[in-house]
Symmetry: C2
Subunit: 303 residues, 2 copies
C-alpha cells in the first residue's frame, strides 16, 4: 500500500524532480488511482536512459516542438508549464507538439492550468482507428479534446474522446470476448460489427458531430502540430488564456454550473484523487520496479 502523495513524490524524484517531473508523476499515478491503468505508470515502460530533458521555457505566445527525444509525459508536462508562464506574460499562449508517444490523459494537464488561473484547451491525435461519419475506413485517431477552467468547486474539466470507444476499450473487449455495443465499430468491409476481433475502424461519437470534432482535433494536432503520419509519435496542442485578465468570470462560471446542474446536466471535473488515497500492493510493486529501472540508469536520482 502506498498513498497517492507518496507514490507521486517517489516517482517525481526518480524522474529528476522539478515541476515538470512532479506534474508528469502526478498525472500517471492519478490514472492508476482512477482505475485507468492503461494511462498510468505503465507509460514508464517508454522511459529510456539517454532521453533528452524537455525544454522548460516557451519563448513567445506560440511555439512548435518536436518531442521525439523526450519522455512523453515529461514533454507534455514541460509544455504545460511553459504555456502557463507564457499565457501569464502574453495573456494567451499555445504550444504544438509532435513526436509525442503515450503520455496518459490530457485532463490532469488541463486541470493544472485551470488551478493556476488559466483557461486551457488541449487535444491529441493518434494513429488512424476512427472512420469518418458515413465512411468505411479509419482515417483519424480517437482524438480527445479537453477544456479546463475555474478553481475549487466550480472548476470544469471536459475531457472526451471524439469516437464511440477508445483503443483501450477494444483491447479489453478482445481479451474478454465480450460483444461490443451496436454502433461502435465497423469491419474491414465497412459493415457494422459487434465482434472486437473483427473491428477495422471505430465510429465517431454521436455521428456527424463527433466526426467533425475529431476532424477539428486532427487539423489542430495532426496538421498544425504535424503529428499526422509521423512515425515518431502523435501530435498534441495546448492553448491557455490568462483568466486574471477577465474580471468577474468566477461568478459567471459559478452561475453556469448552478444552472447546468439544476437542469439535470453533468458537470465534469476531469477526475482527481485525494493525495491520501491508498494504492494497492500490486501498484506499489510495479511502481518500485519502474523506479528501480530508472534510478539504475540515473545514479543519484530517486533517493
Amino acid at each position: 500500500m502506498i498513498s497517492v502523495a507518496n507514490a507521486t513524490a517517489r516517482l517525481s524524484a526518480a524522474l529528476g524532480d522539478g515541476d515538470a517531473a512532479y506534474l508528469a508523476a502526478s498525472a500517471l499515478v492519478e490514472a492508476d488511482a482512477l482505475g485507468l491503468p492503461r494511462f498510468g505508470i505503465d507509460m514508464l515502460t517508454e522511459w529510456k536512459p539517454g532521453l533528452a530533458a524537455p525544454e522548460d521555457g516557451i519563448n513567445g505566445p506560440v511555439e512548435w516542438r518536436d518531442c521525439s527525444d523526450n519522455f512523453s509525459p515529461l514533454a507534455v508536462a514541460a509544455a504545460t508549464l511553459g504555456i502557463e508562464r507564457a499565457a501569464r506574460e502574453f495573456g494567451l499562449a499555445a504550444v504544438f507538439l509532435k513526436g509525442v508517444k503515450g503520455f496518459g490523459r490530457l485532463a490532469p494537464f488541463a486541470r493544472h492550468l485551470a488551478d493556476r488561473g488559466l483557461l486551457a484547451i488541449a487535444g491529441a491525435e493518434g494513429p488512424p482507428f476512427v472512420a469518418p461519419y458515413g465512411g468505411n475506413r479509419p482515417v483519424i485517431g480517437t482524438n480527445p479534446i479537453t477544456l479546463g477552467f475555474g478553481t475549487g468547486d466550480d472548476r470544469i474539466v471536459i475531457d472526451m474522446a471524439t469516437s464511440t470507444a477508445t483503443m483501450a476499450d477494444m483491447k479489453t473487449a478482445r481479451l474478454t470476448g465480450q460483444p461490443l455495443g451496436e454502433g461502435i465499430a465497423i469491419n474491414s468491409q465497412g459493415e457494422p460489427t459487434t465482434v472486437a476481433s473483427d473491428v477495422a475502424a471505430l465510429l465517431p461519437r454521436g455521428g456527424q458531430i463527433g466526426s467533425l470534432m475529431g476532424l477539428m482535433v486532427e487539423v489542430l494536432a495532426g496538421v498544425a502540430a504535424k503529428g499526422r503520419g509521423d512515425r515518431n509519435g502523435r501530435g498534441v496542442f495546448l492553448i491557455a488564456v490568462d483568466a486574471a485578465r477577465m474580471n468577474g468570470v468566477d461568478r459567471l462560471l459559478a452561475e453556469l454550473r448552478r444552472d447546468w446542474i439544476s437542469a439535470g446536466g453533468y458537470w465534469p471535473r476531469g477526475g482527481a484523487v485525494s493525495p491520501e488515497m491508498e494504492l494497492d500492493a500490486n501498484f506499489e510493486n510495479r511502481l518500485e520496479a519502474h523506479i528501480a529501472r530508472i534510478t539504475a540508469s540515473n545514479p543519484g536520482e530517486g533517493k
Copy 2:
C-alpha cells in the same frame, strides 16, 4: 437581379467602406445567396444611426471587447481583421467579444482568416434554448463552433451547431406546422415532443458529446467572453494562429483531405458563393431598402 459582387460592393459602401465593411457585407450577402436569409441582409434591421464604429486594431495577443455600441456584423468583421494582424505579429491571437447581437454565420469570418493563411477557431453562445444531455430545461444556446484552415481546394471550414436544430428551424416549423423529428426537443415537462409550439428546449446534437461541446463553447463565449446573461447581446470568441510559422502543413492538410474523402467522409468548406451568382429581385429590393435607410442617416455614404 443583382450579382453577389455588386450587392456586396453596394452594401459595403453603405456601411462606410473599408475592409471591415466589405467583410461584413460579404458575409451577409453570402448567407442570402446560400438560401439562409435568416443570417443574411435582414441583420441590417439592427443597424441604427449613431452606432459607434468598432475599433479596428488589436493591441496584443488577446483582447476583450464590449460591442454593445457597434453594429454587430461590423464588430465581428473588425475583430476578425484585428486578430488577422495580431496573429501575424505575435504568431497567435484571440479576441473575446460581448454585447454582440445578430451577426449572421461564423463561417465567412473563419474562412476569411483561412484564406489569409491563418488557422481560425471561433464560437458563439446565445440565449438559453438547449438543455444539457439528460436534463429537462434550457441552459445554453445552440452554440456553434467553427474551424477554418487552408487555402484553395484543400481549405476546410467546419461550422456546426452543438444542438439538434437551430432556432431558425424552430421558427420555420412553427410557421409551417410541420412536426419535428424525434429526439430534437422537449416540452416544459422535460418530455420529448415533435410539436414545434410545445418546444421548451432543444436537445444537444449527438447526445453527451454535443452537450459537452455546447458547454465548452459556453465556457469560452459565455464565461470567458462574458456573454452569459448579458442583456446587451451574446458572447463570441475568435482565435487565430499564423500558419506561416508551420512549414509543410499544406501537404499534411491536402493528404488529410484526400484520405478523408477517399474513406467516404464529408470535407466541409463552410459555404461560399461565386461573385457572379445572381440574386433575385426580391433580394435586390430588400437590399436597396436597407441601403436607402442607412445612407439617409449617413449623408455622403453609399454613393
